[in-house]
Point group: C2
DNA sequence: CTCAATGCAAATCTTTTGCATGCTA
DNA sequence: TAGCATGCAAAAGATTTGCATTGAG
């Protein structure tokens, strides 16, 4: 969907470490942890970087298939697991029993969306990313996080907010 | 786990409508919608009321089995679906691929926990209910909700917050 | 050359569904 | 008695795993 070259260009401009694009940066991040870079993994990273939009494993599989036919669905799952572990991806559940993934935020590259939360339609599963009020929200969450960490002896690494409701289209249907 | 009689007693005191306990109130709520009250449904409601603590369908199934052997797992799922639809239960996903349920809050009975959110250990799936800072949190969420509703034309019915991290025990293990 | 990574197929696990039968209202 | 609710078994759907083979470093 995205224009590849434009994407590479923007990222190239902001990074001078020899990697031409975010894909390169991610490759480095994986290799640095001892993972081998394979054609399958390249293709998967590529798809994720260029379609950063709540993709499911199946979505990714289908897209990877077109650039690298013969890839196995199991490889997609295995790679996604690594990427989630390495905190390169976030894994979400929007309530339909299918895991979805998006690039984690990182100050090191601009391809990821900024910090945002989700507004999910319980009928059609449409997802809106919103960033409105994020600052206030994040401030409160950070405070809460800190206090909860102390009180319950948790090492909190993440939070998750979602609003659920009916989108305009689904509402007018009934 | 809970003391049944004590539970019934407390609830009995607060309700004078002919139902002796929250289970009775719930039964009324179901019947009022045209659902038939069956032994299976009675048993399921009973288990939920007396073990209101993030139970999975399987958990509920096993507990119901002991008071009503012969119940089918499918019946558990079918009943839970109704209860969620009727907003008697909330359905949660704590990230381990298993749906969990707890009584929705209601001003009409006291058996439900108050409004709270969850702190989930990503290692052992332990869940802490916390109510700290809930007021501030809820205030912010309500504001956000209202503004999001307007801006994105969503009819927002629900929100969901969760913090993730490592609990003390899991942290010390590694 | 070594061992991590892969593809495929089978297995697993949760949840849903079809259908003949039972039970509530 | 009518038709909703049930149990059972099978199906569905997402994800994981075992294993022989491939390929990156």
């Amino acid at each position: 969907m995205l224009n590849t070259n434009e994407n590479d260009y923007q990222l190239g401009v902001s990074m001078r470490n020899g990697n031409r694009c975010m894909g390169g940066w991610l490759r480095g991040k994986l290799k640095g942890c001892g993972y081998k870079m394979t054609l399958a993994r390249e293709a998967i990273l590529d798809v994720i970087v260029k379609n950063n939009d709540h993709l499911s494993a199946e979505d990714i599989y289908l897209k990877v298939m077109s650039s690298f036919p013969g890839v196995g669905l199991a490889t997609i799952y295995r790679t996604l697991e690594i990427l989630v572990c390495r905190q390169i991806l976030y894994k979400f559940d929007f309530g339909d029993g299918v895991a979805r993934y998006e690039l984690a935020e990182s100050k090191d590259f601009k391809g990821s969306k900024g910090h945002h939360h989700h507004l999910v339609c319980t009928k059609c599963s449409k997802v809106v990313d919103y960033t409105d009020f994020i600052d206030k929200e994040v401030k409160l969450l950070n405070e809460t996080e800190e206090e909860l960490s102390k009180k319950y002896n948790f090492n909190i690494t993440n939070h998750f907010i979602q609003f659920y409701g009916l989108c305009e289209r689904c509402r007018s249907k009934r």
